[in-house]
């Protein structure tokens, strides 16, 4: 079958799997909602403070939720041998891996985008910055999945890779966090944020092109 057929078959397979294992979708989303709803309780009746740190809260929570979901990206395929079959395919492994990452983002990243505006209003974020918040999440969360995939691919063969995974991946998430939360914050004041958005776009494009290769190579190392 053709490469595009294989690519979409992998995406479809992972989406069906996610639908049959709903906790995988629910866990990161629930975590995201819980962390954000706990902040007002912890800070108390200080709406201005909350409003000021809202972009940071939402983005840090999104980042941690993305990290929490990473392990599920290759774990089950590694454990049941499907990963071997994917890597043995005559199609380029990096494209098939990209399919898996896209499916993973659709399952764990996209739901965050859907609930984020609600939570933003809940934190008192000005409504005119909601559009920018959504845009940064749309550009930023795929980067989290793409970069995270390299880390998971490197650690999937280890029994307790969780700690190493966070150490590997978190520093690489920092640029996304800085530019994205800064863009949302500036948008709240009404200033233009084209620069930050352009940087996020370029990070996304770079990750999209550069991340699948090392991921595929690391997976080959991991199954050895």
């Amino acid at each position: 079958m053709s490469l595009s057929h294989a690519f979409f078959a992998i995406i479809r397979r992972d989406l069906v799997l996610a639908l049959r294992r709903r906790s995988e979708i629910a866990n990161p989303l629930l975590f995201f909602i819980l962390v954000i709803t706990l902040f007002p309780l912890g800070i108390g009746a200080q709406p201005h403070l909350l409003q000021a740190i809202a972009p940071g809260i939402i983005w840090v929570s999104a980042l941690l939720a993305a990290m929490l979901s990473l392990d599920s990206l290759f774990r089950s395929d590694f454990d049941d041998g499907s990963l071997e079959q994917i890597l043995l395919s005559s199609h380029p492994a990096s494209i098939l891996v990209l399919g898996k990452i896209i499916a993973h983002w659709l399952v764990t990243g996209l739901p965050l985008l859907i609930v984020a505006p609600l939570l933003a209003i809940f934190l008192g974020m000005p409504t005119h910055s909601l559009g920018i918040l959504l845009l940064t999440l749309l550009l930023g969360t795929p980067v989290l999945s793409l970069i995270g995939a390299i880390g998971v691919a490197l650690t999937v063969g280890l029994r307790r890779g969780g700690m190493i995974l966070s150490l590997l991946v978190l520093p690489l998430y920092v640029p996304v966090l800085i530019f994205a939360s800064n863009a949302v914050e500036i948008a709240g004041t009404g200033l233009p944020v084209d620069a930050q958005i352009n940087i996020l776009i370029s990070i996304l494009l770079m990750a999209l092109v550069l991340a699948p290769w090392p991921t595929a190579a690391a997976l080959k190392m991991s199954i050895n």
Binding site: M1, A9, D80, G81, Q85
Partner: protein, 207 residues
């Protein structure tokens, strides 16, 4: 009768070292279409390591694996090879049919359609059943059905008879004979003594 394409799988001077222990060294073999290579040896003698080298999962510590005279990474090898390992490589949350469709998408369509392959491995009418509801032997037959639906000439099988009953073993032996008769080749490890009719079986003992 049209001439069948002949393929050649060679290992030259292969060696494998694991944790400072030499599992095997200076191992050479040549396998052509229609032949079976049976790897024997006690546990831990490197049978699976050799299979994984032949799959390209592992680099040999010395020597080379050649496919029709070319190094496997530079050749069409991966399009011609299928592997069934210790792990079945099927997703338990998907149905039998969904699993086979994914396998088919990853390879090129082969000799049999999915329905024909399911008939062959006696899993007819199981196509809508979730794999987690299958028994271990049925799962094994399902992973072997993958060999039938994709185009391939080399089968690499790691203990294919595990958890199969007598009929299952006989069935797989028949499929293996058919595969060799149609110009394929098979490399396998097995504790079970295989009985193949009219097929040249080479044996390598790794102990």
């Amino acid at each position: 009768m049209t001439a069948k394409p002949t393929f050649r799988l060679q290992g030259t001077d292969l060696s494998c070292i694991r944790d400072d222990r030499i599992l095997f060294e200076g191992l050479s073999f040549e396998l052509v279409s229609g032949q079976v290579l049976l790897l024997e040896g006690k546990n831990g003698s490197g049978k699976t390591s050799l299979l994984r080298i032949l799959c390209g999962f592992r680099e040999p510590d010395a020597g080379q694996v050649l496919w029709c005279g070319e190094a496997i990474d530079d050749s069409q090898y991966y399009a011609d090879m299928a592997y069934v390992g210790h792990l079945d490589g099927v997703k338990k949350e998907l149905t039998v049919l969904e699993n086979l469709k994914v396998s088919l998408a990853l390879g090129q369509s082969g000799q049999y359609s999915i329905q024909q392959a399911l008939n062959k491995v006696h899993l007819t009418d199981y196509d809508e059943v979730l794999v987690q509801a299958l028994s271990a032997g049925q799962k094994r037959r399902l992973s072997l059905a993958r060999l039938l639906i994709t185009k391939n000439s080399v089968w690499i099988l790691d203990e294919p008879f595990t958890s199969l009953d007598k009929q299952g073993i006989a069935l797989i032996e028949t499929l293996m004979s058919e595969h060799c008769a149609s110009g394929g080749m098979i490399v396998l490890t097995s504790h079970h003594d295989i009985e193949l009719h009219d097929v040249a079986v080479q044996r390598i003992n790794l102990s």
